[in-house]
Symmetry: C2
Subunit: 347 residues, 2 copies
DNA sequence: TGACATATTTGGAACGTTCCAATTAAATCG
DNA sequence: CGATTTAATTGGAACGTTCCAAATATGTCA
């Protein structure tokens, strides 16, 4: 380190005051005389002083750091979620440790441990698949505010912010049924996450509500990614009795389904109705524009962060569970808004 | 904070040794007797001790934190870049402050300042548009290793890692020319970034090399996003003499161009050749699969992080500039690999 | 057994802040 | 003018570690 670190004491000497006074200036306390304030500030500038927040944190035993743990930044949904969090975290004057787990539960444990050692003031966690409530036990008992986002951990006494997955699925199915479909598949995802369970249950309930019979072979699980979507749709096309519409676990899967349809010389929206879930940013501008259940990940991220901030500031430890409402945004991929609608009419 | 924080001293008492010994155990020094080691470790577990890295950092005046500043996580390229960095940062035992600027230069200044106050050991920066060399002056002079990624700041004495944009563009143009195109546009981006300049220059040089005359109206700038791509292609379609192929600033723009083409009832790959830049993860699975100049953002992120680590560990302050090589990966969107190639032959 | 080497442990200062109680200076009052 | 209030400043302890020099215990050798 080339330049010898300049501390509060150096500038105290330079400005000919005590370190205490400098400290007061730094937290701009009203106690200091205006004259000395400018004197000190001048010295600060001259010497190129940079505040040592670590030392301050140590003394005060608190920090302005929050941890953010997401699964996969590569997924547009989580990326937007992260951006939404970043926005409010930054403007609250906090800075964030951000890590991604890639669904790896060991890595998740490591990063959380590391964050604790670094003294985070709170944590937003999108739990990796297979996370147990017990994994979070020590963290929570330590009194650090935790907010679970996107995926809840049923039974845990932690604040959480999840979207109304069930209702979203139901409304999507209603829409497809109203469009005359009665062979509706559900594609993407694995059974071990709450999100999957909720969305799938919504699909089921939506079907019975519409008087459509459930078929197990129309539930096709796959990786919750674009590649997974391609995989799922191509598997579905081998079925003897094929679906004519699909509700996808998320938009990534839906995009993959569209890709797969095209490869099979079918045009999504015209030949096959597809509905996504999440409403990531590309959903709107894709061709065909994706009909999807809008979760607004960025807003969700922001809300999660706000929830955390509230919890940090008010030392409250009581858990608060909020489920954000969703709405179906109808675009083209479901066939409803297509100019050339050659759908068999019905219902 | 419910539970009273347990410190090194508490466990010293519990294990009936001195705090110094505990400290030695923590950094598992070979000096401590095996017996006392287990005794101490037991106490650590029993009391639920968590290491206070902040205090340690203060004492040692060094940290295991690096800063990562990117422009837009929402953009697949940067997201993958970030993941690549995260990978090596984490496995080097570091933790990262991650912030995104959204191309906002003020925000960039703020987050960098904040990171400095938090005592980062190094910084990887994808400078926001309009960043001046002078903006980084104090940071660099403070001796903190800095690596510029993706976008270089010409003239700055900082390490950097950029892709060979010029060569990438040239090879893309060569490919299009070999396919018989002579009306090749360049779409997306704004003139104020080095990446744009380099890729555009490669486009120009590629054209003259292929003996194709340059046309200013074929250079269509726009936001470097999917939406920008839609915008650019639709503007190009109003030209009297239209291009038949396009090299895009990046994949996002290229996807937008494809979307825009479809809206105009043209099939990318068949009716119009489009080449992207970056090779983000969706490029491969999109339909049509995107021909693009592969930059491998994740690998690039990893390399940037490695470069930074090297610099941190070896206290070296000399700047090192590496430009990573790129290669054109030919898929479908350029028409070369299309089954039904109804291209006018030539060249 | 005393001297010396080796293995292990330890007290206290230091890191750069904040905070408290206490001090000093200036101003006001009766 | 001494007493009291108000305004501004200050020294030192504390936060939880690490590191150094020094202390203690243990073993070895002649």
């Amino acid at each position: 380190m080339n330049p010898p670190k300049v501390t509060i004491i150096d500038i105290a000497n330079a400005a000919d005051v005590s370190k205490s006074t400098v400290s007061l200036v730094l937290q701009n306390s009203p106690l200091v005389n205006e004259l000395t304030r400018v004197k000190v500030n001048a010295a600060i500038r001259d010497l190129g002083y940079v505040y040592n927040r670590g030392a301050a944190n140590l003394r005060q035993s608190k920090s302005k750091i929050v941890g953010i743990v997401v699964n996969d930044l590569t997924n547009g949904f989580f990326a937007e979620l992260a951006v939404g969090m970043d926005l409010v975290v930054q403007s609250a004057g906090y800075v964030q440790f951000m890590a991604h787990t890639g669904e790896n539960i060991d890595r998740q444990r490591e990063v959380i441990a590391s964050m604790r050692e670094h003294g985070i003031a709170g944590l937003i966690l999108c739990p990796a698949r297979g996370t147990q409530i017990s994994d979070l036990k020590p963290l929570i008992e330590s009194g650090i505010p935790v907010v679970l986002a996107v995926r809840n951990l049923p039974g845990s006494k932690v604040s959480s912010l999840v979207s109304d997955n069930h209702a979203g699925s139901v409304s999507a199915i209603q829409h497809l049924a109203a469009l005359g479909h009665d062979k509706i598949a559900f594609m993407g995802g694995f059974a071990d996450t709450a999100v999957y369970q909720e969305r799938l249950q919504g699909y089921r309930d939506g079907l019975v509500e519409a008087g459509i019979v459930l078929r197990d072979d129309f539930i096709i699980s796959s990786a919750p990614s674009r590649a997974g979507g391609i995989d799922a749709i191509s598997r579905s096309l081998t079925l003897r009795d094929r679906p004519t519409a699909v509700l996808c676990l998320n938009d990534a899967v839906a995009f993959g389904v569209c890709d797969g349809l095209r490869s099979a010389r079918k045009e999504p929206g015209r030949d096959f109705a597809v509905i996504g879930f999440d409403d990531v940013i590309e959903a709107k501008s894709a061709v065909p524009a994706l009909t999807t259940v809008s979760v607004d990940p960025q807003a969700m991220g922001s809300r999660a962060a706000q929830l955390l901030m509230k919890q940090i500031n008010s030392g409250r430890t009581e858990a608060e569970s909020v489920t954000t409402s969703v709405r179906l945004v109808v675009r083209e991929s479901c066939g409803a808004n297509l100019k050339s609608a050659n759908k068999r009419a019905s219902a």
